[in-house]
Each structure stands twice: as structure tokens, then as C-alpha cells.
């Protein structure tokens, strides 16, 4: 699909929402929703997306939309999808409808993990999208289990003794792949074509699908608003956020940087890692680079791709 053609399709998400200037997730929503052919019902976990897009009486959604709470969008949409199956079976509905659940990384990796796991395990035909901005941004930039090691957040502030978040992010995409659902993918809003293709596959999957999409938070990452796309691109180019998909158990790499950027180059773009460039933290930078390299090698093996 060429972009000018994509722009001809009506959009389901309008301007006039209250996300920050330069926010990443509206871009993620746009790419994913433009890939949907059927009417959609969207569910959203509490978080930036829900709060900024539905300030009463203004809603940015031109479709059926439901929000109930923070940790339960997968369960809420399980119910919506079960209602659809029931009414369709009874002949009360006869059209195809696509069900999408959006949650941030807080609502997905942390507080919503149980409800997500349950919904995927039960096999509801819905696409769960984690718009991953690597922290609790709506409440003021706290760490989540998706926050990278070393990041300065308001609950892992970089101080004289602690250099930001002590832990690496957990590999949620792999956890979802371990659910053996038909389709799991990791994507970035910077690589629209890859994300669009993955959204298409997710919608076509015979069962549940999960997309983990890196979506820049320029406030939490402390980047210039105009750099939103570039900094997400950087995460992919330095192998911090590799693009891959797991289709019926087969791992497949979607993109391999010609020459991976040093992780430090990506971190330099962001204020949240500023303290790591003090001389006393140089060892940590090296440790993080080693970990990224190891993770990358392991992913290459899973995908059956030869390393350098």
C-alpha cells in the first residue's frame, strides 16, 4: 500500500485530541486502524491514550469505543468479543467486526498482564496492541517493567548512588509468543510499512494476536517533539527494539540493521539517559551494550538468522 492511497481511506481517529505535541501513540493508532478493513470496536486501558482521546464530551474515536479500567482491557474486550460470538451464532448480527484492545506498557506489562494472558489463552479473536512508551507517562513518568535499564524516571531517579532504573525490561513479546497464539509481533511506529503489514496479519489471524509497538513519549524520554519518529527509529537501528514476528511458533526477523548503531548513540538523543554519560557511569553503558548484543544474538538464533 502506497501512502497516498492509505490516506484515501477514512480515518477512525480524529485531530482535536489532547495528547502532547509530538506524541507517538496517535501515529501508532493511525497506522494500525488504517490497516483494518472491517468495522472495529476498540477497547482502551486507562492511560495517556484513553485520557487524552476521550475528554468528555469530546472523543477522537469515530468507531465503537469502550474504556472501563486500567488492568483489564483484555478482559473487557473478551466480554465484547464473546457477546459478538453469541449474537452472531444466534443470527442477531451478520457482519464481520474486528476487535482491538489498546494498552500502554503499564497497562500491559504490569497491571494488565494477568488479564492479557487470560484473554490470549482463552483464544478470543481480538488484537491486543501494547503502545509501548516504556513507562507510566500519564501519571508523570514512573518506571514500568518495560522501562530500559538506566533510564531516569520519577520512581527510579538518577541520583548520586543509583544511576536510574536498575533492571532490564522484561521480554513481554516472548512471553506472549509462549502463549502459542497464532500471531505475535514486535514493531515500531517509525517503521510504518512493517507495522501496517503486521497489523494486517494480526487482523487476519485465526484467533488472538498481540502487537508490541514502540511509541515514543517525548516527554518521558526527554526528546525534542520533532524527533519522535527518529528516536523510535534509533531504537530499532541499535537493536534495543528489534522488529520481528512469531507466526504459529515460527520466529522471523523483520529487519536487520546493516551496521547496528551503538546503543549509546540512541541514548544520547534522550534526556532520560543523560546521567549515563557522566564518567562514573561509563561501565554501565558498556554493560548495557553487552546485554543488547547478547539479546540480539539470541533473537537471531531464534529466527534462524546467522549473526555477523
Amino acid at each position: 500500500m502506497a501512502l497516498p492511497d492509505l490516506a484515501k481511506k477514512p480515518q477512525r481517529f480524529t485531530g482535536g485530541h489532547r495528547a502532547c505535541a509530538g506524541c507517538g501513540f496517535p501515529i501508532t493508532i493511525k497506522i494500525i486502524l488504517q490497516a483494518a478493513e472491517n468495522p472495529v470496536v476498540v477497547g482502551c486501558a486507562t492511560g495517556c491514550m484513553e485520557v487524552t482521546s476521550t475528554i468528555y464530551p469530546y472523543t477522537a474515536w469515530r468507531c465503537s469505543f469502550i474504556h472501563t479500567a486500567f488492568e483489564n482491557v483484555a478482559a473487557t474486550m473478551s466480554g465484547v468479543e464473546a457477546a459478538y460470538r453469541s449474537l452472531r451464532r444466534q443470527g442477531k448480527i451478520n457482519q464481520d467486526i474486528t476487535f482491538i484492545a489498546f494498552g500502554g506498557d503499564g497497562g500491559t506489562y504490569d497491571i494488565g498482564l494477568q488479564s492479557l494472558s487470560g484473554a490470549m489463552e482463552r483464544g478470543h479473536k481480538l488484537v491486543y496492541v501494547c503502545y509501548n512508551n516504556q513507562g507510566y507517562m500519564n501519571t508523570g513518568i514512573q518506571r514500568s517493567s518495560a522501562t530500559p535499564r538506566g533510564a531516569n524516571t520519577t520512581t527510579t531517579p538518577a541520583g548520586t548512588q543509583l544511576p536510574g532504573k536498575p533492571q532490564y525490561p522484561k521480554n513481554l513479546t516472548a512471553i506472549m509468543a509462549a502463549h502459542d497464539i497464532p500471531y505475535v509481533a514486535q514493531a515500531s511506529m517509525s517503521h510504518w510499512n512493517d507495522l501496517y503489514r503486521k497489523a494486517k496479519k494480526a487482523f487476519a489471524a485465526e484467533g488472538p494476536a498481540f502487537l508490541n509497538v514502540l511509541s515514543t513519549c517525548r516527554l518521558g524520554w526527554a526528546t525534542a517533539p520533532e524527533d519522535t519518529v527518529d528516536v523510535a527509529e534509533g531504537a530499532v537501528q541499535c537493536n534495543v527494539w528489534p522488529l520481528f514476528e512469531v507466526e504459529k511458533g515460527n520466529w522471523k526477523l523483520s529487519f536487520k540493521p546493516k551496521k547496528p548503531l551503538p546503543v549509546a548513540d540512541w541514548m544520547k538523543q534522550q534526556g532520560r539517559f543523560k546521567h549515563l554519560f557522566r564518567s562514573d557511569n561509563s561501565q554501565l553503558l558498556e554493560t548495557i551494550q553487552q546485554q543488547v548484543d547478547e539479546d540480539w544474538q539470541r533473537l537471531l538464533e531464534l529466527c534462524g538468522v546467522n549473526g555477523e
Binding site: G15, G16, H17, A21, G24
Partner: protein, 126 residues
Amino acid sequence: MTLSSQTKNLLKVHQDVDPDIKPNAGWRDLPIGGVIPQGGTASQFATGDWRTIRPVWSKEKCINCHRCWLYCPDMAWISEDGKIQGVDLTYCKGCGICANVCPTKVHAIEMHPEDDFKDDEAVKEG
């Protein structure tokens, strides 16, 4: 979804409520449960006044790649029939992503401080 006529009549109680929510509406005049009974009402909310810098687009230089349209978080770039028509300043928050993603060689969008346009507005309003 099909509704029985009986259901429709019962639901009329709620659906007769004006879907356009008035800012001073009393509690009896609002849809129940905080529902917004129509889509896309945010399009009536202008976010353009957040802007401190404004994208200026050159139709001549534009190659219609639509990267500005795609990466605009505020759905501000207008495309008709596959052709970029310009930016809708009602929504543009001035983030500058469009100018940044416009291919370097094309350079069809430049960001300018809002102050540069003050005189224009004054002329228009005057």
C-alpha cells in the same frame, strides 16, 4: 444489530437525549453513564492554539510522499485524492515532526515561529 420494535420504543427514552452535549446541560439532559453517543466529536476541539511554531508548506517542492500525513500525531495534514493540500492549523500543535520526516532532498516544510505570523493575523482581523 436488529432491535425489536418494543425495545426501540423503550430505548427512545434514552435516545431522545440530544447527542450534542451542551456545556451547560443539566443532569436530566445528558446521555446516561457518561456515554458520548457519537463519534469524532474531538474534531470540534481546536488544539492549534498550543502551537508556538508553525509548519509552512511549499506546494511546489512537495512530492506527495505523504510522510507528513502519516507521522502527524494530530491528523492535521490534509490529503485529498492522494494529494497533500496543506496543513489544518485548527489541530496542528506545532510539534515539527512533519518538517523532520519530509525527505531531506525535498524540504517542502519549514517550521517558523508563530510570532512571524502575528502581523498577518492582525491584517486579517483588521
